[in-house]
C-alpha cells in the first residue's frame, strides 16, 4: 500500500477538482470565436505543459541537491534521487499529454497533426531527452552509481533545453503566441481565463498526488530489491554452513 490518510484525501480532492474542471471546460466555458470547440483542448493542453515544466524543474533541483548534498545526508541522498526520478516520470507523462492534445488540436485547427514549428520541435526533443533519462534510471547498476549518473544526466538535460530551444527557434516559428506569459496582459479573458487557471490548479493537484505515489513506489522497489538481496545472501550462507557440517 502506498496510500496514507493524507494522500487519500489529496487523491479524492484531486479527483473532484478534475471532475469540476471537465464540467467547466466542456460545458460552462464558451466556444472560441476563431478556434470553435477546439479551444476546449487548451484546458488540458496548457496546464499539462506547465505541470511538465514544473516537474522537470523539480527533477533538476533535486538532482543538483543530490550532487551537492548526498554525502552529507544519512540516507546517502536517496530522497533527492527518488524525488528527481518520480518528478521526471510525471514530467514525461504530462509532456505526452501535451503532445497528444496538441496534435488533436492541430488536426482541428491547422488541418494536420504535426507542424514543424519551434515549440513543437523543442517539446518533442524535450520528451525524448527525458525518456532517455528514465531509461538511464532503469538500468541495472549499483544504486549510488546510477543515482549520480542520473543526476548528472538531469542537469545536462536541463542546460540543453535552452540550446535546443534557441536553435529550433531560429530555424522556424509559426506557433500561436504563448497563451499567458509573465509581464504581459493575457490574451484570453473572462470565463476562458478562469477556466484555464482553475484547470491548472486541478491538474497540479492530480500531478502532486501521482508524484507522491510514484515516490513511494520507487522507495518500495528499492526496499524490495535490498530485501531480496539480503535474503539471497542469507540463503547462500545457510547453504555454505550446511555443506560444512
Amino acid at each position: 500500500m502506498t496510500a496514507t490518510a493524507t494522500s487519500r484525501t489529496l487523491g479524492a480532492v484531486a479527483l473532484a477538482a478534475v471532475a469540476v474542471m471537465v464540467v467547466l471546460g466542456l460545458v460552462v466555458s464558451p466556444e472560441d470565436a476563431v478556434q470553435g470547440q477546439g479551444v476546449r483542448l487548451m484546458y488540458l493542453h496548457v496546464p499539462a505543459i506547465w505541470v511538465a515544466y514544473g516537474s522537470f524543474g523539480l527533477t533538476s533541483v533535486s538532482s543538483a541537491l543530490y550532487l551537492w548534498r548526498a554525502s552529507r545526508r544519512t540516507d546517502g541522498g536517496r530522497h533527492y534521487d527518488r524525488l528527481a526520478g518520480s518528478a521526471a516520470e510525471i514530467g514525461v507523462l504530462f509532456t505526452a499529454v501535451t503532445l497528444f492534445t496538441g496534435s488533436l488540436w492541430g488536426r482541428v485547427t491547422w488541418g494536420s497533426y504535426w507542424q514543424w514549428d519551434a515549440r513543437l520541435t523543442t517539446t518533442i526533443l524535450l520528451f525524448m531527452t527525458y525518456l532517455g533519462y528514465l531509461a538511464l534510471r532503469r538500468l541495472p547498476a549499483d544504486p549510488g552509481v546510477r543515482a549520480r549518473r542520473a543526476a548528472i544526466m538531469a542537469l545536462v538535460s536541463f542546460i540543453n533545453v535552452p540550446i535546443v530551444h534557441f536553435s529550433v527557434d531560429w530555424w522556424r516559428t509559426l506557433h500561436q503566441k504563448a497563451s499567458l506569459s509573465v509581464g504581459r496582459k493575457p490574451e484570453i479573458t473572462g470565463e476562458m481565463y478562469w477556466t484555464l487557471m482553475y484547470s491548472w490548479f486541478a491538474v497540479s493537484l492530480g500531478a502532486a498526488w501521482l508524484l507522491i505515489h510514484r515516490y513511494r513506489v520507487i522507495r518500495l522497489e528499492e526496499l524490495s530489491e535490498e530485501e531480496s538481496l539480503d535474503r539471497a545472501i542469507a540463503e547462500r550462507r545457510a547453504e555454505a554452513s550446511g555443506v560444512s557440517k
Partner: protein, 222 residues
C-alpha cells in the same frame, strides 16, 4: 592537463590506427547510408541535391555514434577504466583527450562522407572556407557532447542501446546548425552560414565546460 590530453588522444588514435575501425567499418557504413538515401528519394537528383547538407550530417551523426561507442568501449574492457583512474592523469585532461581523439576520427569520417556527397549527389562546394569552418565547429560540438555522454554511459550495461537514445536529442541542434551552415556552403541558401557556425561554437563551449566539471565524478564511480 594539456600533456595528459595529448597522451590520451595519442593512445586512442594509436588504438584506432592499428584496428582501423573508422576507415574500414564506420566510413563504408556512412557511404552506404548515402546510397540508401538515394533509394529513399527514388534517386531524384534535385531532391538529393537539396537535401545533401542534411544527409551529410545524418550520415556523420549515425556513423559518429559508432565512433563514440568504440572510443569508450576500449576503456570499458579489461579493467581499463580502473587503469585510467589510477594513472594519475587529470580527469579534465582525459576528457579533453577524448574530445581530441573523437574530433580527429570524426574529421576523417566527414572527409570521406563529403566525397561521397559530392560524387553521388553532385553537390557543388561553392564556399569551401565556410564549409571547412562549419565542419570543424560542428565536429568540436559533436566531439565534446560525445565525450560527455560516452563517459556517462561508460561501464553501464546495455550502453550500446542507451547511448544513441541519450545522445541524439543532444546532437540534434548540432545537426540542425551544421545542416543550415552547409546549405550556405553548398550555395543552396545565401544567408546565415556564419551565424550557425557561431551557434555550433557556443554548443562546443557549453558541452566542454560541463564535461570538464562532470568527467571526474563520472570516472570515479562504478
Amino acid at each position: 592537463m594539456l600533456r595528459d590530453a595529448l597522451l590520451v588522444a595519442r593512445k586512442d588514435l594509436v588504438v584506432e590506427w592499428r584496428s582501423r575501425t573508422t576507415t574500414s567499418q564506420v566510413a563504408p557504413l556512412a557511404v552506404l547510408m548515402l546510397v540508401i538515401f538515394a533509394f529513399a528519394f527514388d534517386a531524384n537528383r534535385e531532391l538529393l541535391q537539396r537535401g545533401a547538407p542534411g544527409l551529410f550530417w545524418v550520415a556523420v551523426l549515425f556513423g559518429g555514434l559508432l565512433i563514440v561507442q568504440r572510443t569508450f568501449a576500449v576503456e570499458a574492457e579489461d579493467g581499463n577504466r580502473d587503469a585510467l583512474r589510477m594513472s594519475g592523469l587529470a580527469p579534465s585532461g582525459i576528457f579533453v583527450g577524448k574530445i581530441l581523439s573523437l574530433v580527429a576520427q570524426l574529421l576523417v569520417l566527414e572527409v570521406i562522407v563529403l566525397v561521397g556527397v559530392v560524387v553521388f549527389f553532385a553537390s557543388d562546394v561553392e564556399r569551401p572556407g565556410l564549409l571547412m569552418v562549419a565542419a570543424l565547429a560542428g565536429t568540436l560540438a559533436y566531439g565534446s557532447a560525445g565525450a560527455l555522454f560516452g563517459a556517462l554511459a561508460l561501464g553501464v550495461r546495455l550502453r550500446e542501446t542507451l547511448l544513441p537514445l541519450l545522445l541524439i536529442p543532444v546532437l540534434s541542434p548540432i545537426l540542425l546548425a551544421g545542416t543550415r551552415a552547409f546549405e550556405s556552403a553548398f550555395g543552396l541558401s545565401t544567408v546565415g552560414g556564419w551565424n550557425w557556425i557561431g551557434l555550433l561554437c557556443v554548443m562546443a563551449a557549453v558541452y566542454t565546460a560541463i564535461g570538464l566539471v562532470a568527467f571526474g565524478p563520472l570516472l570515479e564511480d562504478g
